[in-house]
């Protein structure tokens, strides 16, 4: 004879998925960061946006496009591959190296804004700072991220944050963008609903 489960035992928890930013939110957040960059850099003169692959690159392009719409200034966009500068290279299978593509004129003496989708431990940004110092000497470096989920392991802070998402370490933040994944969305996986 089968016994029904005891009343006090809870059913197994399904991993939850919560949409943090929908497509319209992503668009608004990008607009806001573009405005903030214009404000903080006083018109984005002598500014270069460098996207960190994979999703930092389309984000950087979007920011440049929005800045150009708002203020009619053209901000050069480049790609900074950080693969060879990671501090966990030996912990994983060999990673494929991607292209680093600096805009004409390089980055020497300019204000570089690094762009990435998620800021987490800070190790990606550290690698990006190392990579930057090998390809030139910017006047200053700033950091723009779509999402800051906390849990920093290094003393790194973003200058422009689309959305702060308090997370548990066990949770996972997944950003999808139209250019790379087909649609714009930020989702939180594995946590209890907030």
């Amino acid at each position: 004879m089968a016994y029904p489960p005891a009343a006090h035992s809870s059913p197994p928890r399904q991993p939850s998925v919560k949409v943090i930013l929908a497509a319209a939110d992503v668009s608004r957040v990008v607009d806001r960061i573009a405005h903030q960059i214009l404000e903080k850099t006083q018109g984005a003169a002598d500014t270069v946006l460098l996207g960190i692959p994979t999703r930092g690159v389309p984000l950087a392009r979007r920011l440049a496009a929005r800045i150009s719409t708002f203020e009619d200034v053209t901000v050069p966009v480049g790609v900074l591959d950080i693969t060879l500068y990671r501090d966990d290279l030996r912990r994983h299978a060999t990673r494929a190296v991607g292209p680093t593509d600096l805009p004409p004129g390089g980055i020497d003496g300019r204000r570089v804004v690094l762009v990435d989708d998620v800021l987490f431990s800070g190790r990606t940004v550290r690698a990006a700072l190392d990579a930057l110092s090998d390809v030139g000497r910017p006047a200053s470096v700033q950091l723009a991220v779509l999402v800051d989920r906390g849990h920093r392991q290094l003393p790194i802070r973003a200058d422009y944050v689309g959305k702060n998402i308090p997370t548990a370490l066990a949770e996972n933040v997944k950003v999808t963008l139209a250019e790379t994944d087909g649609d714009d969305e930020v989702k939180l996986y594995g946590g209890s609903p907030r």
């Binding site: 290279l89 030996r90 299978a93 494929a96 190296v97 991607g98 680093t100």
Partner: protein, 308 residues
């Protein structure tokens, strides 16, 4: 990724393309002010050279150093090898010193394969006897792709002393894998009998350079290896140059876009004339520069991650 690079046959089309793509990214480092990447920091690469080779050894050394690896150069001359130390004992010594990769050049075909059984690290064949020289084939393929934009469908003539050429053997294997058509050209005494099924299917053989030249995209001249010419493979150097040397008039029979390659070192005036070697069609200097990028890619892909 594979653990060792011993033969052109170790690379399937995807892996070979990954190496070439990685080399293209590595090449951008050469144009930078800081020509160094931290990817292999803390790793040790041993250049174990039992045969003289300035070009290949320096190329591997530059590649490893640009990736921040520690490099130990071991030349058999003046070492305990002259006192009778065997390859196995040398390998065990390297093992004890913690070599992560051993780049080996050896006069005996197959020595790198044996070495791979004795060391825990990766082994890269930098030329073994008359057998193979896979990184040379990769840099040749890289040079062709960067000059002509593709490898699939290219028609490559490899001309000269195919019999003794490890460069030819590795090139035949790699180019066939990547979809290029290869024709071997040379005197019958210097082209192994029945080479096609033994090495790679679909290889053409010709003993007449002049009929092949108008139909190729790449002509790769091989060095006449005088040090290995123990038998009379051809009547005289002059006769060889007349039949199989690439001079100005012959070069002009090539299609407009075709390039001329040579693995070096050249015997100017024998397999290639100075007019050809120094012409804009010649990629000989480019090949040397590309060698560093390709070897960086190989070392990174073998040592950059935790493959084992």
């Amino acid at each position: 990724m594979i653990r060792h690079l011993l033969s052109g046959a170790d690379l399937d089309a995807d892996t070979a393309t990954l190496v070439l793509d990685t080399a293209a990214e590595m090449a951008t480092v050469a144009g930078r002010e800081v020509k160094k990447l931290p990817a292999l920091r803390g790793r040790t690469v041993v250049n174990l050279f039992y045969e003289d080779s300035t070009r290949t050894r320096i190329s591997f050394e530059a590649a490893a150093k640009r990736l921040s690896a520690d490099v130990i150069n071991f030349s058999a001359k003046g070492s305990s090898v002259t006192k009778g130390e065997s390859l196995k004992d040398t390998a065990l010594t390297l093992q004890a010193m913690g070599a992560d990769a051993v780049v080996v050049r050896h006069p005996a075909s197959g020595a790198p394969h044996r070495l791979a059984d004795w060391v825990d690290g990766s082994v890269v064949n930098a030329g073994d006897g008359t057998h193979e020289h896979p990184t040379q084939a990769l840099l040749d393929a890289y040079t062709m792709r960067s000059r002509l934009g593709r490898l699939a469908g290219l028609h490559v003539a490899i001309v000269g002393d195919v019999l003794h050429s490890r460069v030819a053997r590795s090139n035949v294997l790699l180019l066939s894998t990547l979809g290029a058509k290869v024709t071997l050209v040379g005197p019958p005494t210097l082209i192994p009998v029945d080479i096609s099924p033994a090495l790679a299917p679909g290889i053409d053989v010709s003993y007449d350079l002049d009929t092949v030249l108008p139909n190729v995209d790449v002509v790769m001249m091989l060095r006449v290896q005088r040090e290995r010419m123990s038998d009379s493979y051809f009547p005289s150097a002059r006769e060889y140059a007349r039949r199989y040397g690439l001079d100005g008039p012959r070069m002009r029979r090539l299609p407009e876009h075709a390039i001329v390659m040579h693995p070096g070192p050249m015997n100017r005036g024998m397999e290639i004339t100075p007019e050809v070697a120094d012409s804009p069609r010649s990629t000989i200097v480019e090949q040397v520069a590309n060698g560093v990028s390709v070897r960086m890619a190989v070392l990174y892909l073998l040592l950059g991650g935790s493959n084992r």
